[in-house]
């Protein structure tokens, strides 16, 4: 409703009615068609793409992440709404920083699990694995590395 009020703004008369109707239709289109139906269908195709990636000997991780993102579009939207601070001139940069913190604190430890599996898989196939061990540590130390990088540049 807040967005609707913003979109319609101070319009009056017939234009206000048209704008309100357009907003309602667009909202229905996004929430009912795109999020509830289309995103799930495209996510299913991404899952099939992941299987084809494996068949081609490629990594399926990118396709799987795309599939997860499409299936969780609704909650990602809600997450971004919680990060959005209305009325703040720096709302965009604040949201980007909040998303970085979410990725560093929640998703990076999950990525460590993938790194560990990659290490064992590489050992099995006699491939180099030290870069996976190093990145595994880095995923767990992202906040520390961020503080270290800032200290290099003299930032607090």
């Amino acid at each position: 409703m807040v967005q609707r009020t913003r979109f319609v703004g101070h319009a009056t008369g017939r234009f206000r009615c048209l704008a309100s109707s357009f907003w309602t239709q667009a909202n229905n289109f996004v929430s009912n068609l795109v999020i509830k139906h289309l995103a799930i269908a495209v996510g299913a195709w991404f899952l099939m793409r992941a299987v084809f990636n494996i068949a081609h000997g490629e990594s399926p991780i990118a396709s799987l992440l795309g599939c997860f993102a499409l299936l969780s579009l609704n909650s990602l939207y809600a997450l971004m709404q919680t990060y959005h601070t209305a009325g703040n001139a720096y709302a965009t940069s604040d949201m980007v920083m909040s998303l970085w913190q979410f990725a560093a604190s929640k998703l990076a430890p999950v990525a460590v699990g993938v790194c560990v599996m990659g290490i064992v898989w590489s050992v099995a196939h006699k491939r180099p694995w030290l870069h996976l061990a190093g990145s595994g540590f880095a995923f767990l130390c992202l906040f520390g590395l961020w503080a270290l990088t800032k200290s290099y540049l003299g930032l607090s």
């Binding site: 993102a69 969780s72 560990v116 767990l140 270290l148």
Partner: protein, 160 residues
């Protein structure tokens, strides 16, 4: 559905369900190739990576906890020294836990090499046991050797 929960469940499924099965698969492969190597007169060590991978597949949750322990379990996560301390902890663990275990294995190998039980022909290499004993001693003394080298470096004086 939540993105974080979905990714977490996917990784948990891979680590707790798929990886143990792959571990059993690698054990089968290792055993098969070990037999093949024996038939064709090749060294067994050419296929030991399958053994290591099999144990690694069974130990993936433990390895994950190990990496977390090295990084301090998230305590004081914003410390700039976190990455350095994690690598330092890993190095200490390798030098003071893994290498002494390797020393025991090397001593067992020295006994095996000296007795000739692992030799297909019964021929025992002259330097075989010595090689393993030397590696075992070096594994046990690595921390001391590193400290000795550092002592020499720190107390070095110009010649002449």
């Amino acid at each position: 559905m939540n993105f974080y929960t979905g990714a977490l469940h996917a990784v948990n499924w891979a680590a707790n369900v798929i990886c143990p099965i792959l571990g059993a698969y690698f054990l089968c492969v290792a055993l098969y190739f070990c037999g093949q190597a024996h038939n064709y007169g090749q060294a067994h060590s050419r296929y030991t990576h399958y053994w290591y991978a099999a144990w690694g597949m069974f130990l993936i949750p433990g390895l994950m906890r190990l990496l977390e322990a090295f990084t301090g379990n998230g305590t004081n996560a914003s410390d700039p020294d976190t990455y350095y301390l994690a690598l330092n902890s890993a190095c200490n663990w390798l030098a003071n836990v893994v290498l002494p275990m390797n020393a025991v294995v090397q001593l067992a190998k020295a006994i095996g090499a000296g007795s000739g039980v692992f030799s297909r022909t019964g021929h025992t290499p002259v330097w075989g046991p010595t090689h393993h004993v030397f590696i075992g001693l070096m594994s046990l003394c690595l921390s001391g050797i590193v400290k000795l080298i550092l002592h020499f470096i720190n107390n070095a004086q110009a010649v002449g």
